[in-house]
């Protein structure tokens, strides 16, 4: 096997460099997400807390950071890292659901359906729109419950890329 980080692939693909960049982005996103997660979920996120968001500016601001960080990590992982990793492996890429199914088959993601469900839950995490505290609290707790799975998925692709010498 070549020692070159490009691993003999055409220079124009730059997989090693692009994967290296996304690795740094993902690690920063995980770091900030964990900080926000510790702050918002230090005590259970109940319906009562959800109902207070209108008046509790400090909580609303913390939550805003949590949801945007969660969503950003899911987007970076699913919409950027996943297709790049698949292409680096020589796999075809397509619609998000197809890429997720492929990731499940390749063993880096537990369940493509669960990923899509979390993606769908995001619409219900925005307190300015969701007037039901039950729905809001459930959406946020669901995202929080999925956080380690999301992080594990990103790490699984990056570890695999490293094993294959695809990462600079």
């Amino acid at each position: 096997m070549s020692d070159s980080p490009m691993n003999g692939r055409p220079m124009s693909d730059n997989f090693a460099e692009r994967l290296g960049f996304l690795k740094r982005v993902v690690e920063r996103e995980i770091h900030h997400l964990r900080y926000s997660s510790d702050s918002v979920f230090a005590s259970p996120f109940t319906e009562e807390r959800a109902a207070r968001l209108g008046e509790d500016e400090a909580l609303a601001e913390k939550l805003e950071a949590y949801t945007s960080r969660f969503c950003r990590l899911q987007d970076t992982t699913g919409d950027k890292l996943l297709p790049l990793w698949l292409r680096a492996l020589g796999e075809k890429t397509g619609a998000v659901a197809d890429n997720l199914d492929r990731a499940e088959k390749l063993g880096v993601l537990d369940s493509a359906d669960k990923w899509l469900e979390i993606r769908q839950t995001r619409n219900q995490m925005i307190h300015e729109y969701i007037e039901s505290p039950q729905v809001l609290a459930d959406a946020l707790n669901t995202a929080h419950g999925y956080q380690e799975t999301l992080i594990a998925f990103a790490h699984a692709m990056l570890s695999d890329a490293k094993r294959r010498n695809l990462l600079e």
């Binding site: 619609a95 899509l116 769908q120 839950t121 219900q124 007037e131 039901s132 039950q134 729905v135 669901t142």
Partner: protein, 99 residues
């Protein structure tokens, strides 16, 4: 209504499968407009018993229906006795058409 008989049947079956026979499903939004094209499938699902995880439930049902509709975007709006009624629920109930 821009859904085929077979799509309506599939959706009804998935809703009953997930929520039981005490549930109903209506189509609302742009798919009711026969002159429009494409668009998301907006569904209003009413269930007669309280639900414990409303966000998870509507997300799971959306994904199951989306998969059955070959990736077409699906949004399920859920109504249950223990959930606050929002303006969108009333609009969907009034404007929606049973599948």
């Amino acid at each position: 209504m821009r859904l085929t008989d077979s799509q309506r049947q599939t959706i009804r079956q998935l809703v009953i499968d997930e929520l039981g026979s005490g549930s109903t499903v209506k189509l609302f939004g742009s798919r009711l407009d026969d002159s429009a094209r494409g668009g998301d499938i907006d569904l209003f699902v009413e269930v007669d018993a309280p639900v414990e995880h409303p966000a998870q439930l509507s997300a799971r049902l959306s994904v199951r229906i989306m998969r059955a509709m070959h990736g077409r975007k699906v949004d399920v709006l859920l109504s249950a006795p223990n959930l606050n009624e929002q303006t969108i629920h009333r609009l969907a109930r009034e404007q929606g058409a049973f599948l």
